[in-house]
């Protein structure tokens, strides 16, 4: 269904938080898809303009935090003439349930899309029960 319809622009969601960062800049929350399969939870974030070395994924106190910085150097010497979107660093955090194995998280970045696969803890995986 979604393949044949016309794409519309989604505005970037700006982050409004109680704490301020030490370096003044506006932060945005990347658009995220979260879906669950039998053995893992997949978190997919759109972070255009971010290179692999500028992504930080960390888990602390059951909170998954994603920080992705854009390369501001690329914009040096450029004067904006017409704009439809803003640019900035991305950050978003999610609270994880204890059903996830927090040691086993894999991350993959391609074409500005960051895919995180969080494996479920062994106890949480569905067990098939054989019927005699």
């Amino acid at each position: 269904m979604a393949q044949s319809q016309e794409l519309e622009v989604q505005e970037k969601k700006e982050l409004v938080s109680k704490e301020e960062a030490t370096v003044p800049a506006r932060y945005f929350m990347p658009h995220t898809d979260i879906f669950e399969t039998d053995d893992a939870l997949n978190v997919i974030l759109e972070v255009p303009g971010v290179e692999r070395k500028d992504v930080e994924v960390s888990v602390e106190n059951d909170v998954l935090k994603i920080d992705a910085k854009i390369g501001f150097k690329n914009y040096e010497g450029l004067e904006p003439v017409y704009t439809e979107y803003n640019v900035g660093h991305f950050t978003r955090s999610f609270t994880l349930s204890n059903k996830l194995d927090q040691q086993q998280i894999s991350a993959h970045l391609q074409d500005g899309v960051l895919t995180l696969v969080l494996k479920k803890a062994k106890e949480a995986q569905p067990r098939r029960i054989a019927i005699d």
Binding site: A2, Q3, S4, Q5, E6, L7, E8, V9, Q10, V23, P24, A25, R26, H31, T32, D33, I34, F35, E36, T37, D38, N42, I44, E46, V47, P48, G49, V50, E51, F72, Y75, E76, G77, L78, E79, P80, V81, Y82, T83, E84, Y85, N86, V87, G88, D111, G112, V113
Partner: protein
Amino acid sequence: MALTLADPFDALLQFQNALDSFRASSWLGSGPSARGSYPPLNVFRKGDNLLLTMEVPGIAKSDIAVQVKGNTIRISGSKAIQYGEGAALHRRERRAGRFDRAITVPVEIDPEGVKAECRDGILALYLPRAERDKPKTVAIN
């Protein structure tokens, strides 16, 4: 308006505020399909030439087609999202679909020199200004 990035700590914030102030810019306004469709684009000027940037996360180079005719640029393609089998969706914010957008820039560009680069989800089009459109310096007697 030249951006002077004298204070490196504030530089990004100043740039972001500048980007915001050009949102209502009518520079591109008169074209028939200048606004409102995907992908969102920014136009920058560097000297005489223009740079167009678009955010196209999740779209591979092969799924985008760029065509240039005169001063009109057409960007079309499709974005696909794969969810995998047996997936239970908890949150869906990304969108998939086709896009086809044409914009006309108000300056003359050299269609032969247009270069396109797509990396890390950003499509950048380098548009050099046509020689005949560049202003000529006039000597004062």
